[in-house]
Amino acid sequence: MAKQPGWKDIPIGGLILEGGTAVKYETGSWRSNRPVLDKNKCTNCMLCWVFCPDSAIVVRESKMLGYDLEHCKGCGICARECPVKAITMVEETKFREGSNG
């Protein structure tokens, strides 16, 4: 992650002075479980996109393409709501380099 701004660099009082800043806040680092999509099962019904609280489902031309992992917190709602069970939650440690998991 890039170096965080210091106390002299940020607005006082916790103010946020512009809109659309949530995209700059990479909540993906909070994730302990990662959603994994089985494209063979996915029907592109978009229920995951509807339910995702972090707008982390990447969709293009009505197709579910995958996840914005910089913002997906791994809450698992998409996996829970998927009507065809195309999404499974996998422990994040299994994706780490050098992981034995």
Binding site: Q4, P5, I10, I12, G14, L15, I16, L17, G19
Partner: protein, 397 residues
Amino acid sequence: MVKGKVVALDGAKAVAEAMRQMNPDVVAAYPITPQTEIVQTFSQFVADGKVDTEFIPVESEHAAMSACVGAAAAGGRVQTATTSAGMALMWEVLYVAASTRLPIVMHFVNRALSAPLNIHCDHSDSMGARDAGWIHLFAENAQEAYDNAIQSVRIAEACMLPVLHTQDGFIISHGVERLQILPDQAVKDFIGTYKAEHPLLDTDHPIMVGPVDLPDFYTEHKRQQVDAMEKAPQVIRRVGQEYGTLTGRTYGLVEPYKLDDAEVAIVVLGSTAGTSKVVVDALRGKGVKAGLLKLRAFRPFPAQEVAVALRDKVAVAVLDRSMSFGGQGGPVFLETCAALYNGGGRARAINYIYGLGGRDTTPDQIERAFQEILNISTPGKAPVDADQSERGRQSPG
């Protein structure tokens, strides 16, 4: 210098008069004794059309401070008034106001906290809130309460910190005194106009106020508050000087009284400073080198001024009108000792808890406190045991 008008007012009405002259955008307040007279008087000004203020008669003090936060975030010049349990009910929102850096002014009256129920003066209420991030100014009399009310607006807006200026309940708030008030136009000119840098109502530049702040930035926002408080003394001095040019009454963070050559001194804030000055004069008449250090600002605590003023004294008596149960003394004592320790002072310090729940503090009692510190400072004379009274161990009375 402008010519003031001499009037007879109690402290509460003097502050209400200052509020009328300042004509704030929003006042949100709830009545509580002995502060009621401030908002009651001011609400009459509103009803009579003497101010343009939007007066919000809220259902509680928690709501009062919440409304102040909203109105100040919107970009208004905002004031309130409370005391005692009212402040206790504001507690949560006091921190929100300070941490959101809103220049709200609170016209405060000091009163004891329950229980047992007591409506009279001590400093437990505002001292409890000393770490909430507000600037705290104390007044010795109605004149200072009036003067502090007007200066508070300038200080708050220059520091982007809320300011609480206080007067002793009943003693000042309901004691009619002779004081000078400024012409309306002079007050208007002194406080000028306020333009918030990031008002919530500026829809061309939408902002967010009060978002969640996680571990990665919360400390940075607290650090900014420390910085603002560190810069506050110079603002308080500058505004106090400018007010002095206007009125002839100059203010700083502390007021030394016959202190330069004093060997023993009393440290005190609020109305008891006036009583103590009488005692200092009497002792000086007897050849005793007694002096006084009155604190006007308690937050920020004027540590440097206190250390410089007291470090060559032999002994000092620090008077606290509130308790810190289980602590090593009252809040004024602890701050004074820390200032002396850090400033390399050699003065010995003794703490007196006085005037709780409005008990009178008489010149005799102050004189006895002076006598004790004189004993401390005399070689071979052991300090008198603090238990001087069947009515309370830590009282000089």
